[in-house]
Amino acid sequence: MGLKEIIEHHVLDHIWSRLAFGPLSLPISKHLLMMGIASLILLVVFPLLIRSRSAALAPFRAMVEVIFLFIRDEIVLPNLGPKGAPYMGYFATLFFFILVVNLIGLVPYGATATGNLAVTGGLALISFIVINFTGMKEQGVLGYFAHLVPKGVPVWLYPILFPIEVLGLFIKAVALCIRLFANMLGGHIVILSFISFIFIFGSLGAAVGFAVAPVSVLLVLFMMCLELFVAFLQAYIFVFLTAIFTGMAMHPH
């Protein structure tokens, strides 16, 4: 089995069966299972944690609370203004969903569903809808498109800028999708490569392989710590950028 197969085996989705649902054929796959586990954790653990009054769980409750308040006070309200409060459910769920899915990818036997373009594409699609929906709701459909081109631009530039801005709407969403996907995938590929070093050098001689192993393991350990950080960071960035784009769509000035 070559390096390519190993990496593909670990980062690609495994489709076990398919369900026909109208024109779509819905896969039952490993990444779907991971998303299901993440959803189950969010649906069971979070409500219980938040409602619990036990002192032992208080630190975890405080952690969730601090993150929630951070998203509210530092990300959503500064960007969306006071009208952002109704969207808190979306932003908080987005952050914790991405975070939990990212973290499940670091657990043994887990797979990173956010390292799948289809999953991040789904999330970016919802972001795209939210961004444009809030913009249209706030300014009206015509007003939204009228304000798409920034103020103070000469009239003759409008025919050029308008398509660019419309394209920009899609590019923003696609960038969201690819950023998360690439970040989650990259770390895993690097980890797999470091592990593979052991066997690549091992093919030169068992002793060389054994000599390389500690270095590899140390590097992998370092990468795992980095991945842990990136799991939080990417969840934050996704939410942060979505909030910024939503804010820009709501308040064009």
Partner: protein
């Protein structure tokens, strides 16, 4: 590897459904209670702070009142003490004056008494001396009164008298 960048549309559908369900359910079961708890705590904090501030303001007011009362009381005590001191001073002066006056009276009456007594004593003494001298003279005279001496004396006296006043010479 191109499978990596070939999105599986079915999974996108699953993601959207899964995520939207999560948003709906978590908004109800998690975020709302969390927000309620946070708001309740913030409200409690605000309430506590307000209560504390009110209590502090009350305490300050009470202290200011007490201070004012204390100052007033002090002033009053000072006034009363001054008054009392002045009254005592007056009383003292009065008493001393009276004492001085009565002492003067006593001294005066004593002097007068002494004078009177002295005068009486002097009178008595004079009387007694006079009497005594009369008696003594009487005694002396009684003792010295003998005939010969008297006649010598009288003749001597007469002679002298005659010498001085020859006109009165009885014989030659």
């Amino acid at each position: 590897m191109e499978a990596l960048i070939r999105p599986e549309l079915g999974l996108t559908f699953w993601t959207v459904v899964c995520f939207l369900l999560l948003v709906l359910l978590l908004s109800k079961t998690a975020w709302r209670p969390l927000l309620q708890a946070v708001e309740e705590r913030e409200r409690a904090l605000k309430h506590d702070r307000q209560a504390a501030e009110t209590a502090r303001a009350d305490a300050e007011k009470a202290r200011a009142e007490l201070d004012a009362r204390l100052a007033q009381l002090k002033a009053e005590i000072q006034g009363r003490m001054d008054e009392a001191r002045a009254a005592a001073e007056r009383e003292k002066d009065l008493i001393i004056d009276e004492a001085r006056k009565s002492a003067a009276v006593i001294v005066e009456s004593s002097r007068r008494e002494i004078e009177a007594q002295k005068a009486e004593a002097a009178r008595d003494l004079k009387n007694k001396v006079a009497e005594l001298s009369v008696l003594a003279a009487e005694h002396i005279l009684m003792k010295q009164l003998d005939h010969r001496a008297n006649s010598d004396l009288s003749s001597k006296y007469l002679a002298e008298l005659e010498k001085e006043r020859p006109d009165l010479k009885l014989g030659a």
